[in-house]
Symmetry: C2
Subunit: 313 residues, 2 copies
């Protein structure tokens, strides 16, 4: 029985701070309809898809709280859940999570075709800083606004209608960390879904990196980690000029050889759809990356025994 | 004080079984002279550079032993050591090591400008099988002929004349394993040197992968792991049709952004030279891949606690 699945990357253009929640959700619904017209069964949205990327500002109190979801779903996002269920489409979406206990995480969920949440993931690799950088126009305050994800990297099974893939979620900066991919790889991941908001250039006017190299880094990390773990990957941007700060695009669907099968051409709302054959993961998993045959964990101890780099004398 | 170094990738064409040791060494010396003419201070040769890739055959006894070096250096390779020292050039070279105790490893050494051996590395990720695959014309018997490297991944300092880079060695299949790179990354590696003999296509006539995709995999793994560890990398092939079995080329020098600064155009003997600025590693090491700030080893336990993949139910 073929294990095939039609997946969509729903790249989003910028969400301006002034945009209403309704306007943003309407765009997300339009992307869903576009994906549905192409037969998609699973739609992958970006990180923090419902709002602007607010960690670029030092804010607090009610202004900060307004960016967080106290439940998922909730009335503001319910139309997306309802329409997806009606279309029998699952989706992955990122959002800022505020728990009943007051904890805050940069989170993502994946729903199944029945609208139920299959799994939740809380971002482990938070970039940025706790304290703002003096004098900078834009900050990266994820370490201030979120706790580190407390659930690790838990793979889960997609539904039988999708071929029961072993799935994993990552969020933005996570995709640059081979440890995260490998932990999923060690659970046999066949389909990685992830969203991002990545600066297109130094948002404070520096010019050490431009949007071309930052897009290259994003794509390179996804391609190589997909290859080295023999998994499909769907990597989805919120892109464009968001409140004066540029975000890269380059959303892509990547096969288990690390090859790009579809990639966004714009910095706006754009749907990419591909039919993926989960059994294409087998070549890598059974041969080159047959972990049981070839890994040597006795030589990997530093990966867990130390955090920072310790150069030789 | 600038920390710059001129490095050379000395790609080799095939070493046929019938080629004499002297003929192969003469080619290696010619590559050394070519690198010297371009001012190289360090020359990187391939894996098992002195012989054909003998693990493709089931052999034993004296026939097998003839491919192994009982000491390094030894009279057969001494001219390379002598000429390199005279030129004040260091080199990395791979060879089959037979210890006085009778242990066999797929090894590499790096020498300094004074001709002394700076470090030895024994390949950890041996591909292939112990027993031959019945009916196949060509085998991959590294697991039969070699023991797993017993020294792990020990970074070492290059000499002051090179800017005292933190260096690491990998051999062939190792370069596809992010764990190996990360263990060096956790020692602050700034320059990774490695050689390979990688099949250009299924040597037994299968067509699941061709030379284009195998070269893509080789380059992709080196680029992304260089980026994710913010290190320079020099990755060097033995290439071409060797005793009827094809080997990919694609030798390259890669910067800490994962970008290729030089890549081989042929499948034969070819020298690539680049001047590398070791301080270009700092951007990645201090920001995106500031390990002390951003790694979360508490979520990486599977990497050392299990060997093979364990999919969810």
């Amino acid at each position: 029985m073929p294990r095939t699945l039609r997946v969509a990357a729903a790249q989003m253009g910028p969400n301006q701070r002034a945009d209403s929640r309704e306007a943003i959700l309407a765009r997300m619904l339009a992307l869903l309809e576009g994906a549905a017209r192409e037969g998609a069964q699973l739609v992958v949205y970006p990180e923090l898809a419902f709002t602007t990327f607010f960690p670029r500002w030092l804010i607090e109190g009610a202004e900060l709280d307004a960016y967080f979801e106290r439940a998922m779903p909730n009335p503001a996002v319910q139309p997306l859940f309802d329409r997806a269920r009606a279309l029998r489409i699952g989706f992955q979406v990122g959002y800022a999570e505020l728990t009943p206990e007051g904890q805050r995480f940069n989170s993502a969920i994946t729903t199944g075709p029945d609208g139920a949440i299959l799994a939740k993931y809380r971002k482990v690799h938070l970039p940025g800083s706790v304290e703002p950088r003096p004098g900078d126009r834009f900050q990266q305050l994820e370490k201030r606004y979120f706790e580190y994800g407390d659930g690790g990297f838990q793979a889960f099974r997609g539904p039988a209608a999708w071929g029961a893939p072993v799935m994993g979620m990552l969020i933005c900066n996570d995709r640059r960390w081979p440890e995260a991919w490998r932990v999923y790889g060690l659970q046999g991941v066949e389909l990685m879904v992830m969203g991002y908001n990545s600066a297109a250039y130094d948002p404070n006017g520096g010019r050490t990196e431009d949007s071309a190299i930052r897009t290259f880094h994003s794509t390179l990390a996804a391609q190589a980690n997909a290859y080295m773990n023999a998994t499909w990957a769907v990597s989805v941007a919120k892109a464009g000029d968001e409140d004066g700060s540029g975000l890269i695009g380059g959303s892509c669907i990547i096969d288990p050889n690390g090859m790009i099968v579809a990639q966004a051409k714009t910095l706006g709302d754009e749907v990419l759809v591909a039919e993926i054959d989960l059994d294409l993961c087998r070549q890598g998993k059974e041969k080159m990356f047959n972990f049981a045959a070839h890994r040597r964990p006795e030589h990997y101890r530093r990966i867990v025994d130390q955090v920072g780099a310790e150069p030789p004398a």
